[in-house]
Subunit: 357 residues, 2 copies
């Protein structure tokens, strides 16, 4: 079968070993003669899975004492309302760095005053807005560290005078993170961590229990902490694949190694477009994401967009179409995407260019 | 390998064909060279999955016009707060038929007044409380049709003067349902429908939009309806297995056939305990569930409980331990459990009894 290079923005490429072991666990889990899909989440076999997933998550990200790791359902979008529900008394600060940040802001406004302290909306989010002058009279500051749609990313773990909450849906485990700088980090699993259906939440326990509002049980982080993510039936299979992916991260040598691999992959692709006469990146250089690499056709070559899309597809590239808000192309280069796939894309771009210029 | 008989209360036994096809789709989905775990939920391949799942769901349950079917994350427990969020202005009526009903009541109380119109709590929920005199001054009536922990079930689609909302987590697709009697039916997938991680919601659209409260997007049924369950990334793999399970239901001949199979299985087990000198059912006869069959040791034989548990395990029975609120044994006999498994359990009970009496 033809090799497919999977540049999907998410759900996205996962380590092959995680996929194969997931398929095995579905046919017969741990040799018990049953599928992982049909055993109790309270069984010792599944408890071992979630325990290992949490332990590896903490170990590989270097999470300090005082933080809890949760795996929940509902997606990062549910967190957009859970965060203000649990943390906002009156006012919060948000950075508007893209569509997902904007969605988080929209939900927060239902709970109190939102102070948008930085935005790149007027440049169609083509840079990461500098975060300065963080107010001290807010309950928390919310940022989105990587903007999947626009391909911008912040690589610094900023110092914040108020609890810092970060949506890291699309760059978690792509680099070392100083978790101690954050009060909470969360995200959908379906990029670097696992399949769709599970959401991770890293939360420092001391920020909870400080709001007056009455919290429904399922929206209360303290309930999920108390029950070890099993207040109700968790998304078992996604959590299993997360565990397998974390095992793979560990086997490679951890996030530092992945960071180097990601930098190498991104450099290859960014260098190619910087040296190209027909392709051009859409993002300001110091905001360029290592996870989602957006590019379009240069002026004068825009009529070739569909032709390149078809050419790349014929060469095995998948998921390259840019989001409609940006157009053009987006190569998502998550952890599990091998260097060879970026090389294949670059070869494809070079070959196409040679035929046109 | 020894045959395992899977009586787990949930996540629970699924059709083998659904399990095998899920494993195949994880290794290579539709022959596209990619796993279903690593493709976009917006891809045409996945859109076809959710479309077929919704269409089969409507077809096999005979859902009339005016209703929508959603697949969401978060579990039925999230619905416990979403229901009052979306439907309760001031007051709702609830039937207290077990632990899950009680949890639903607890969440509803955060949103308004709850009128518990029937309860079997004082008999440790060993019967389904008769529902009479439904008040007309409430926004809706909430019932739990099958009580997984206690093994009681209501088989009538009752007439209600107010919108009827039913948690059918553990008996959906086990019998024909007159959906037109309900305003909403919901439940976790992880019994008769699929793996953990997805929740189904059948909702009559005209009951929505009648509350004043501001709704966060993820908690608003109208948002999920508008976006066809894809406001955010849905639990893709669980939805795939649901589609496969619905195909299996259709291939067998539908819910009417399943109902007959379930009645036959339940009769075999209930008759065995009714004729036994050492086993006895815990539930009043006319409330006996077809899905979860609870029994204990008769007085004088209670010291044999552990011994029977070990004996049954040695004979391949799995997931038989009763919930701690009831004790003893619980055989969950969901759709996918074959008659042969119930026969194996009954043989095991008879053999054990012969050695003791």
């Amino acid at each position: 079968m033809k090799k497919i290079h999977n540049f999907s923005a998410g759900p996205s490429i996962l380590p092959r070993i995680a996929i194969e072991n997931t398929a095995k666990a579905i046919l017969d889990f741990n040799g018990i003669g049953l599928s992982i899909l049909e055993i109790s989440h309270r069984s010792k076999d599944f408890q071992a899975v979630i325990d290992e997933a949490v332990a590896l998550f903490k170990e590989q990200l270097g999470i300090p004492e005082g933080y809890q790791v949760l795996f929940l359902g509902g997606g990062a979008s549910l967190q957009f309302c859970m965060i203000p529900y649990n943390l906002m008394n009156k006012k919060a600060a948000y950075v508007d760095s893209g569509v997902w940040a904007k969605k988080a802001i929209k939900e927060a406004k239902l709970f109190g005053e939102v102070n948008v302290i930085a935005s790149s909306a007027d440049k169609n989010y083509n840079f990461y807005p500098p975060i300065t002058n963080i107010p001290t009279d807010v309950d928390y500051l919310h940022i989105t560290t990587n903007n999947t749609i626009y391909g911008t990313e912040i690589f610094t773990d900023i110092d914040s005078p108020v609890p810092l909450v970060a949506d890291m849906s699309s760059d978690i485990f792509s680099r070392p993170v100083d978790v101690s700088k954050y009060a909470m980090i969360y995200g959908g699993a379906q990029k670097n961590l696992g399949p769709a259906g599970a959401t991770f939440v890293i939360v420092r326990e001391d920020i909870l229990g400080k709001v007056d509002r009455v919290l429904p049980s399922m929206l209360d982080y303290r309930v999920h902490i108390k029950e070890g993510s099993m207040y109700n039936t968790p998304p078992c299979l996604p959590i299993y694949t997360i565990m397998e992916t974390l095992r793979w991260i560990k086997s490679l040598g951890g996030v530092k190694v992945l960071q180097e691999m990601n930098q190498k992959k991104a450099k290859l692709l960014y260098d190619t477009m910087d040296n190209s006469k027909i392709f051009v990146g859409t993002v300001e250089k110091d905001s360029r994401s290592l996870m989602n690499i957006c590019f379009v056709m240069r002026e004068g070559y825009q009529h070739l967009e569909d032709e390149f899309m078809n050419f790349s597809k014929a060469n095995g590239m998948s998921g390259l179409k840019g989001h409609r808000s940006v157009g053009g192309f987006r190569a998502s280069t998550y952890n599990a995407l091998p260097y060879e796939s970026v090389q294949a894309l670059v070869d494809c771009m070079n070959e196409f260019e040679k035929s046109k210029v």
